[in-house]
Amino acid sequence: MFGDFDTGVIFDNLHFLVEGMQTTLVLTLIAIGGGLILGTLLALARLSRFRALSFCAGGYVNFFRSMPLILVIFWFYFLVPHVVGRPVGGFYSVLVAFVMFEAAYYCEIMRAGIQSVRKGQIYAGQALGLSYAQNMRYVVLPQAFRNMVPILMTQAIILFQDTSLVYVVGIKDFLVSADLVANRENRILEMFTTVALVYFVICLSGSLLVKRLQRKFAR
């Protein structure tokens, strides 16, 4: 079976695969950025003294955490145009879906991060006369973020692997592109083995980086 392993098919379709990888990276980066911002706001809401606010944020998080990502993508593809009032195209609806979905996870991470900052630090900021927003901005969030960098990265690696679910709306990320080539050329074995290797190398580098960061912040 491996005797006639056809590497040609990989090189013939290289530019196609590279384009897919670019899509994967762009999606991952934007989803992380957006998810992190929205997630942080949600985390602040969840920890807020206002019951209604924290209740809503909690509901949001639990709702998205109970849904398979693939169904979230599917629903957003059809719902976003209705909300916006015009077709937005697969890419933007997928971005919205990813950002909102990841926000639920990043919210939980940032919440843990904020809670990992000792109460005394918050008191210290307040005692110096910093306002709530200043205290969050200059004292709490930088530390929360720093404490959570390893977990944030791990989540990013999961997200990086999950982007392939965009195939439901016809966007071609790395895995989807490879699958397309596999289908067209009937070279499924070659493509999937390549994909496994590529993901492994990239994600392993990612997690080694996480380890480095962890050690750096461990102090």
């Binding site: 639990n62 398979p68 791990t154 895995l175 994909v195 993901y199 392993l204």
Partner: protein, 240 residues
């Protein structure tokens, strides 16, 4: 919207049967995979914290391999590539004689994948307890194994209940990947119904609701367990 809603389709034969059987497959794949993941993940996670370079090295390799390849790809590799790596007879046996081949493969693949993530949680839980408790256990004469059994594990499992809950939820959601090797679980059945009837919205709504039901039950269950094992007087276990 130019769409003919027909919720009745969900309750017609054979589609209702399909949904029910899909749901049952989701549950059985997930639970079986969870048992595997929890057991193996615990072993690997513990191995990453013991005082033996070999055990640690092997466990680390395991974790890095299994969590750095997308589940979808692993599913494929287990189903199509793994049997080819075996000696011919064994390979043929896996391909032809293995009882319920799709189910077994899905459980093994999902279980091994999730185990790598459970292992990370278990390790984090043990490391969160710190050297002090380990030393205290050793100092009263417990063997290293006893220290794990009576001191480190009971506390670390309590600490990691929240992240374990997430993994448990994820395994239900990830079980849908099993459809790629032909396990007709909930998502696959929803697709089937859509292919047959073109009533996709109804089918996917049903699937979404089924997932929300399962995950809600799991969250509730884990909350109950968390309450049951809470240690009197302790506010937060992770704090130390």
């Amino acid at each position: 919207m130019n769409y003919n809603w027909d919720w009745g389709v969900l309750f017609r034969e054979p589609y209702l049967d399909w949904l029910i059987s899909g749901f049952l497959w989701t549950i059985s794949v997930s639970l079986a995979a969870w048992i595997l993941a929890f057991t193996l993940g615990s072993i690997v996670g513990i191995a990453r914290t013991v005082d033996n370079d070999w055990a640690r090295g092997i466990a680390t390799c395991y974790v890095e391999t299994f969590r750095n390849i997308p589940l979808l790809v692993q599913m494929f590799l287990w189903y199509f590539v793994f049997p080819e790596l075996l000696p011919y007879d064994a390979g043929m046996w896996v391909k032809r004689e293995l009882p319920m081949p799709e189910f077994t493969t899905a459980v093994v693949c999902l279980g091994l994948y999730t185990a790598s993530r459970v292992a990370e949680q278990v390790r984090a839980g043990i490391e969160a307890i710190g050297q002090g408790q380990r030393n205290a256990g050793l100092a009263i004469g417990l063997t290293p194994a006893q220290v794990y059994r009576y001191v480190l594990l009971p506390v670390s499992y309590r600490i990691i209940i929240p992240p374990l809950t997430s993994e448990f939820l994820t395994i239900f959601k990830n079980s849908s990947v099993a459809l790629t090797i032909g396990v007709l679980e909930t998502t696959a059945q929803a697709r089937q119904i859509e292919e047959y009837t073109f009533q996709g919205f109804e089918a996917f709504t049903a699937a979404t609701l089924l997932y929300i039901v399962v995950t809600s039950v799991v969250m509730l269950l884990m909350k109950l367990i968390e309450g049951r094992v809470r240690i009197p007087g302790m506010i937060s276990l992770g704090a130390k």
